[in-house]
Amino acid sequence: MSTFVSDFKSRATEKAGDLRHRQVIRTALRSYEIVRDKRKAAFQSWESARQAAAETKWEAINHLDTHLEALTAKLEARGTKVHWASNGEQAREIIAQILRDKKARCIIKSKAMTSEEIHLNHALEKEGFTVVESDLGEFIVQLRHEPPYHIVFPSMHLTRGEIKELFQKELGDAPSDSPEELTMVARRVMRQKYITADVGFTGANFAIAETGMISITENEGNARLTAALPKTMITLLGIEKVLPRFSDLALFLPMLATAGAGQPMTCYNTMYSGPRQPGECDGPEEWHVVLLDNRRTELLADAEQRDALHCIRCGACLNVCPIFRNVGGHTYGTTYSGPVGSVITPHLRGLQDWKHLSNASSLCGACTEACPVKIDLHHHLLQNRRNASAREPAFFEKLAYQIFGIVANEPLFWSVAKKIGWLTQPLQRAVKASALDPAKAWTKTRDLPPQPRESFKDWWRNRK
């Protein structure tokens, strides 16, 4: 068993039994569920909107080359420098080189999951740069030296008491455990950082091919400040973020807000089309946009699962997933957790190492139903299972099914097996859940029902 699997299993077992964790997550998601449903109901037709969003993303992804060319041409025409990175290493080097050229010391970041994906902070800190996460949730998990728990709500696993203790220890400032006062502590710390930072770093939610714009969605205003104050701005985005037209945002912005946080619109939705232009009074002098592949093209090559690139990272599938809610975000050990993370991680990091995530699913389909762009998530989990076993069959499992196939296909074998099956049960009970039990993962927490000595067919024939 690879370490990825055993780590996943031990963390999942621990978290699933952690009642406190379950309570925190349940509380955090309860109000989300109410407002999300209310917002969905306010749409004249949420279902039609989903279909249109899915078709729009389909168009974007299935003509990705032309859209990316249009996007970069428009961006470059207004003085933006566009960089292309095939993998994380290249992206880190491009970004580090910009910082070296600018002789930067302090980088202020607004939330970007792509930077988590390429482990950017770690690489930059190793080179001696100071990296400050400005999103409150990201700031909190950065102080704890841990990755975000959830792609949209990074610190949802923590209580106000824990955050107060953290601020006291790390910042020496936490007047009380009121969320209001704790937020103000972070605001004060960050205002100083904004004024001194040399470089601002952002992610992106959408990239508009038609007009050459990067659209950023946020509630706090930290991305707005990041794109306004430092002299240099860097934006890192996955190549799948494109939308064909400016007007597509009229649909995608409210859908992202509704599915992701149950809001009618996120507080700030901002489209950037260049660095500071002639006649403008502020904004960065230089803007670098880094387009990241990092094996997205491998997922693109799988036509069956290509729609997983439609994902707008709203987090709706995480919020409804019974597995995510029980094992928690950190258990996955991936950048993108929950159903969509389980679908795409095997493509981004290797199928055999991450195939266990496809089994961490009840296949209930809640994720597929919640997805605002209609990604067929739970079927993709099944397809990943199929692909993994086709490429590397599990010997004993295959053998067991082959034997079962022979027995079940031959009436004579079947009738004998039916008659003597109960005799083997004491044997099964003797090895139950031990190393000798081939089904121990299942039988560890479950009893096999006793097999009756008489089959239903026999009972039916002999009744009266």
Binding site: H83, S247, D248
Partner: protein, 228 residues
């Protein structure tokens, strides 16, 4: 070969195999719509009412839900009174703003020292201002938010750095819904867009601590929209 060509090459190679259309369940006979799918967004987004009065009512309700302060004012005199009331209630000592017909009027009315952004400004100085006063491009009834740009609202920082953002708008800037707001921005600016376009829907907020709403996370704690 450059990385750009490598990536585009991999994309073109991958796209040689067609993907099933969404909702087709693998049946390739379904054809994509000839017009952009999102063009009909108006029919699916939340209802907005037909008359301007209804839309102002909806804007007021949505703004209140977002904890923004919206005041629909009948005249310049009322606008003047509203500004003075804000100044006195919050004891403003200095404000930041930009040149514009409505903002010039506001600055004159307030009679306070003003940091104007038009010809550049000191960040430290703007940070100390009690309010940022801007114009905008549109008020959106559907969301209760405003749309503004770096050109219409004095740059990128003015609407987020001071603790109170005051938007001064004209009645004819009200649009019904998001598609109308995008259309208005497009007809006003395309193809030479300002480098920043921002849809501001309520004052800055966060829910990162136990999902409890806190206003004024990084941006302004208060958003006032005065419409004359």
């Amino acid at each position: 070969m450059s990385e750009r060509e490598n990536i585009l090459g991999r994309i073109r190679e991958a796209l040689k195999v067609a993907a099933p259309l969404p909702g087709s369940h693998g049946d390739m006979t379904v054809h994509a719509a000839t017009e952009p799918p999102a063009n009909q967004a108006r029919e699916w987004l939340p209802l907005v009412g037909t008359s301007v009065a209804e839309q102002f009512e909806l804007f007021a309700k949505n703004a209140a839900d977002l904890k923004a302060d919206f005041q629909l004012l009948a005249s310049r005199d009322e606008l003047e009174a509203a500004l003075l009331k804000l100044r006195d209630a919050e004891k403003w000592r200095r404000v930041a703003s930009h040149g514009g017909e409505l903002t010039d009027f506001a600055c004159k009315t307030l009679g306070l020292p003003v940091t104007l952004t038009d010809r550049g400004y000191e960040v430290q100085e703007m940070e100390k201002c009690d309010a940022g006063i801007t114009e905008c491009d549109a008020l959106i009834a559907q969301t209760g938010g405003v749309a503004l740009t770096s050109r219409s609202a004095g740059g990128r920082a003015l609407s987020v750095l001071p603790p109170h953002h005051v938007v001064i708008a004209r009645r004819e800037q009200l649009v019904a819904d998001l598609p109308a707001a995008f259309a208005r921005l497009q007809s006003k600016y395309a193809p030479d867009y300002p480098s920043m376009i921002s849809f501001i829907t309520g004052p800055s907020r966060t829910g990162d601590i136990e999902r409890i709403l806190v206003l004024g996370a990084h941006g302004p704690k208060k958003l006032t929209i005065l419409c004359q």
